[in-house]
């Protein structure tokens, strides 16, 4: 008998296993760096070995099967949850978050939070003054940056590059994981599409690292920040983030890399293939640049009106607009209360930044938020409904670029925005109920759903999330980060398959029997 036939058919477990192998490789690479500079190399090697063993085991004893839509969501959702949980192992074993007065559960919760924040490219952190980032070894720091880099392009996309057996199902997986309205196919084969995405991603990371090196960072910091800038993650190797360097060239390079990360990677790949800069042909990218540019000017004017010098206002505005508009999440504040600390700005510029937290970058990018194209079509949809009031019998279409948007897409976008809003509202109530004030709770939930990074109030760019939120609230925010990273639906629908399985096993209750009997009754009976 073929040994492959003895394997358990489960695409979910197979994809999870492969994803864990990549995570183990990232841990192993970080452990090697920790050997050079740091004390926690043994713990990291153990974490890598455990993760690797689990991944290899899952890959070895399972095989891929046919995927229907519910299975696709289960596979993608389960992979992200498992990777986030197992990804916390290095922090747990190295005791990264052990501090005075924090119990074991709090330490575990912090490790999970940092792991989720990394893989979902959110960039919120539980490091802070009480536990400075600078006190960690290089290996742990590199691992943090790698979590964002892996999560940026998508761990499932990475898995698809090495799993030709997925065939057409692979596109479904990429589609469920990719931000925005579906993934573009760059090549006839799904595997080739995934590989092209990763090649472009890798190339941009290298370019970013070289530019940061030229701008004045040391090699380690340059690589680390290139990893988290292209993935629009926002983790830094310094407590003060980019503010540590207080350098215009560094800020400009980070901004440029973040803007590239928040643009569609399909456009990057096409530009590379055609050797032409095709970005400006894309209406979403044009809108995106316009949005960033316009917002920068408005915030700069508001800051200047509030007493900041014009050049300084422009610099602070540009960096913070780009970092939040791309869902990057870096900060350029040199300290609490400094010019770059937007948590102490006046309410006007804060509200402008708050809007950016919701918007995010372009479809098919590494950024979070609801995406520019959805906002553009949502506004056009609203305007159409308003015009329909004046012309009730007119057949009005939503136009985008040179074409007309299909009604099914308009409805999907409207539905997504409604669901996003509901999660934001319910999340805010829950986080506030766990002991957080209105502003910190609301902005924390928005930034978690949009995978942005810093919030406002007590969790601003210079603060730690330990200061702003209780441990249960942080766990809730971590869950919302995962929900936001997969754009909500996959994380809910991943529960469909287990739910159906449970329904088959659990005996029918009287209510269900009654309902089934009612459904089977002929019409009119």
């Amino acid at each position: 008998m073929n040994p492959a036939n003895r394997r358990w058919t489960s695409t979910t477990a197979h994809v999870c296993g492969n994803a864990l192998i990549f995570v183990a490789l990232a841990m192993a690479l970080s452990a090697l760096v920790e050997v050079i500079e740091g004390d926690e190399a043994p713990a990291m090697f153990v974490a890598a070995a455990m993760t690797g063993a689990l991944g290899v085991g899952m890959r070895r004893w399972t095989r891929t099967g046919v995927l229907d839509r519910s299975m696709v969501f289960t596979a993608v959702g389960a992979t992200w949850v498992l990777v986030s949980v197992v990804g916390a192992l290095p922090y747990v074993l190295a005791g990264t978050f052990v501090r005075d007065g924090a119990g074991a559960l709090v330490v575990l919760a912090d490790a999970f939070f940092e792991s989720v924040s990394g893989y979902s490219c959110t960039g919120s952190t539980v490091f802070g003054v009480h536990n400075p980032i600078e006190a960690q070894g290089s290996g742990i720091l590199l691992y943090r940056q790698l979590t964002q880099w892996l999560g940026g392009m998508g761990i499932v996309v990475l898995v698809v590059t090495v799993l030709p057996s997925l065939r057409a199902s692979g596109l479904g997986l990429i589609d469920a994981e990719a931000p925005g309205e579906g993934a573009d196919r760059l090549a006839p084969k799904v595997v080739d599409t995934a590989r092209q995405f990763w090649k472009v991603y890798g190339a941009l990371t290298v370019i970013g690292a070289v530019l940061l090196l030229a701008a004045g960072m040391n090699p380690f910091d340059a690589v680390a920040h290139a990893l988290s800038a292209i993935s629009t993650g926002g983790f830094s190797t310094r407590n003060a983030s980019i503010g540590y360097w207080n350098s215009v060239p560094v800020e400009l390079v980070v901004m440029a890399v973040m803007i590239l990360g928040a643009a569609s990677f399909t456009l990057h790949a096409r530009s590379y293939r055609t050797r032409r800069f095709v970005h400006l042909v894309d209406p979403e990218f044009r809108w995106y640049l316009g949005l960033i540019g316009g917002w920068t000017l408005v915030v700069a004017v508001l800051l200047a009106a509030d007493g900041m010098a014009w050049t300084r206002a422009l610099r602070m505005s540009a960096f913070n607009v780009v970092t939040l508009g791309t869902s990057g999440g870096f900060g350029n504040a040199t300290g609490a209360g400094s010019d770059g600390d937007f948590a102490v700005w006046a309410a006007g510029p804060q509200v402008m930044l708050l809007l950016l937290l919701v918007v995010g970058g372009c479809t098919g990018s590494t950024s979070g938020g609801i995406k520019v194209i959805r906002l553009r079509i949502g506004v056009a949809h609203a305007y159409r409904a308003l015009r329909a009031m004046r012309r009730p019998r007119a057949v009005l279409h939503v136009r985008y670029g040179d074409g007309t948007v299909p009604e099914s897409l308009v409805e999907r976008i409207a539905g997504f925005m409604v669901v996003f809003g509901m999660f934001a509202v319910i999340g805010t109530v829950l986080v506030a109920a766990l002991g957080t004030d209105l502003v910190t709770a609301f902005t924390g939930v928005i930034e978690a759903l949009g995978n942005m990074g810093p919030a406002f109030g007590e969790a601003g760019p210079t603060a730690s999330f330990v200061d702003g939120y209780s441990t249960p609230a942080r766990l809730l925010l971590a869950t919302l980060m995962l929900v936001g990273r997969l754009e909500i639906f996959p994380m809910i629908l991943m529960l469909i398959v287990p739910y159906r399985s449970i329904r088959q096993v659990v005996p029918k209750g009287p209510l269900r029997q009654l309902r089934e009997r009612r459904d089977q009754r002929p019409m009119g009976a």
């Binding site: 509200v351 308003l386 099914s408 539905g415 506030a432 209105l438």
Partner: protein, 503 residues
């Protein structure tokens, strides 16, 4: 005189111009009638404001009648033009109210007068007045403006919008059997609404009087409870538990749909039981009260009563002030702000987004979830057994979009003008939902008078648009914008033609 008010024999006016003129006349008549009543009442006390109120109202009333007689309406009005007319009527009342505040000298700055008038007619519980310094006439005018604002909202929500087929399902005028609960036509529905509203206000007034609020206090409280306005007269009448109970009952009924009230009056109990929106209203009130009471560590019946009062005041967007019952939980302002934003039932005098629309959004979210699994799924959205048309679903999404846009825009504006983020957010939500008063994060009330004039002025558009259920105001703005656009386009074409001719 007879010639002046004689109906003109000119040919019919255009749909838009006649709607706008009629709107202005109706608005002027509404505000001047209120002014007259207030002036007459003022004569019974000091009479300091009486002559200003009476003379201003008489002039405005005569001008309105003259305008009304001049209008020659066409046989049929466009729906958008009627909505524009309603907006103009509302704006007319607000502007006339502003003039009366200035004429009586109650407020000397036009910006303050505009804010106060807008807060009154939009039934927002924000005021910069010192109520203890007001005479009887002005007290009645302030509370009465809320009553008129509440009536406008009711007529708009229950009679005008459904008759124009723009919000038919939202006003619950169609049941599963196709029966229209209030009346077969918009005109009769408006009559029934007026009867119910007046009757309800009278009952409330009697209730307050029996509870010990005093004659004038009862009138003021009844007007502001029925309209969910939240204006309270001098002497803190709401401190009395008996008055509080009447207010609780009044706010509950005011937040329920007029259709529900009609069914109660006509003893159609089955319709009430079937109403999904009413069940949600009850659920929201119960769950909210329990949560707020739990967070505030409410123990005795008095504390639970005050908790229920606080929640009802927020949900119905009435805005009667009530100090924090116990320790102020961090989540309490979030819950109350959310309650005000969601608001009570459609077809009530309350503001906010309103429950029926919220239910529609929840169902829409559920359908989108199912469509992720089955992309070709064709599913209708049903609420309480009634299928919502896709056009209605689209309008609900639009309203959500507009509501959020107005809140964000107002928050940004007042933030730029000097409020901190938490206060700006609360002020933005309260203005758009026509609720109030605004609380600080620690639960204390913030006085609108302590904000700068530009901040208060920035809240006015949100209050007015929020009271007009968003749509009519935006349609009116759209009409004005289209008019300007067409005129510019015409001028551009004319110039182009002229250039061509010169060549």
């Amino acid at each position: 005189m007879r010639t002046l008010f004689r109906r003109t024999s000119n040919p019919d006016w255009g749909s838009l111009s006649s709607a706008v003129a009629t709107g202005a006349a109706v608005g002027g008549l509404g505000a001047s009638t209120l002014g007259l009543a207030s002036g007459l009442l003022d004569l019974t006390s000091s009479g300091a404001d009486a002559w200003s109120l009476l003379s201003g109202s008489v002039v405005a009333g005569l001008a309105s009648v003259w305008l009304f007689r001049r209008v020659r309406s066409p046989r049929r009005h466009e729906a958008a033009d009627i909505l524009t007319g309603v907006t103009v009527a509302f704006l007319g009342m607000v502007l006339l109210g502003t003039l009366l505040y200035l004429l009586t000298g109650t407020l000397t700055d036009p910006r303050d007068a505009l804010f106060e008038s807008a807060a009154g007619f939009s039934t927002t519980a924000l005021t910069s007045l010192d109520v203890d310094a007001l005479g009887r006439g002005m007290l009645l005018f302030r509370a009465g403006s809320q009553w008129v604002g509440g009536l406008t909202a009711l007529l708009l929500g229950v009679a005008i919008l459904p008759a124009l087929s723009t919000d038919r399902e939202l006003a619950d005028r169609h049941t599963g059997t196709g029966r229209k609960p209030l009346a077969p036509s918009g005109g009769r529905a408006a009559g029934n609404v007026l009867r119910l509203y007046v009757g309800f206000t009278l009952l409330l007034g009697i209730g307050y009087l029996v509870a010990g609020a005093g004659p004038l206090g009862s009138v003021l409280l009844a007007a502001s409870t029925a309209s969910t306005g939240g204006f309270v007269g001098p002497g803190q009448p709401l401190a009395d538990p008996a008055v509080q109970w009447v207010a609780i009952l009044g706010m509950f009924v005011a937040g329920a749909s007029m259709v529900i009230l009609w069914r109660i009056v006509t003893l159609q109990w089955q319709g009430i039981r079937r109403s999904a929106e009413f069940r949600t209203y009850l659920l929201l009130l119960s769950a909210g009260t329990l949560l707020l009471g739990w967070w505030s560590e409410a123990g005795g019946p008095d504390e639970w009563r005050e908790t229920l009062f606080t929640l009802l005041s927020a949900v119905t967007t009435t805005g009667f002030p009530m100090e924090a019952v116990g320790p102020w939980a961090t989540a309490a302002p979030v819950l109350l702000l959310l309650a005000a934003a969601v608001g009570p039932m459609t077809g009530s005098t309350g503001g906010g987004f309103q429950l029926f629309r919220m239910l529609g959004l929840v169902k829409l979210a559920r359908r989108e979830l199912m469509r992720q699994l089955h992309p070709s799924l064709i599913a209708r959205i049903r609420i309480g057994g009634v299928v919502l048309s896709e056009a209605s679903v689209g309008r609900i999404v639009l309203q959500q979009f507009l509501f959020v846009a107005i809140v964000v825009g107002t928050t940004g504006a007042v933030g730029i003008l000097g409020l901190d983020l938490a206060t700006a957010l609360a002020a933005g939500v309260h203005a758009a939902a026509t609720a109030g008063p605004v609380r600080a994060l620690d639960g204390t009330f913030l006085e609108a008078a302590s904000w700068s004039r530009p901040v208060r002025l920035a809240l006015v558009p949100a209050m007015l648009i929020g009271r007009l259920a968003l749509y009519p105001a935006l349609v009116a703005i759209g009409t004005a914008a289209t008019g300007i656009q067409n005129r510019l386009r015409l001028r551009w074409r004319w110039n182009a033609l002229a250039k061509g001719r010169d060549r």
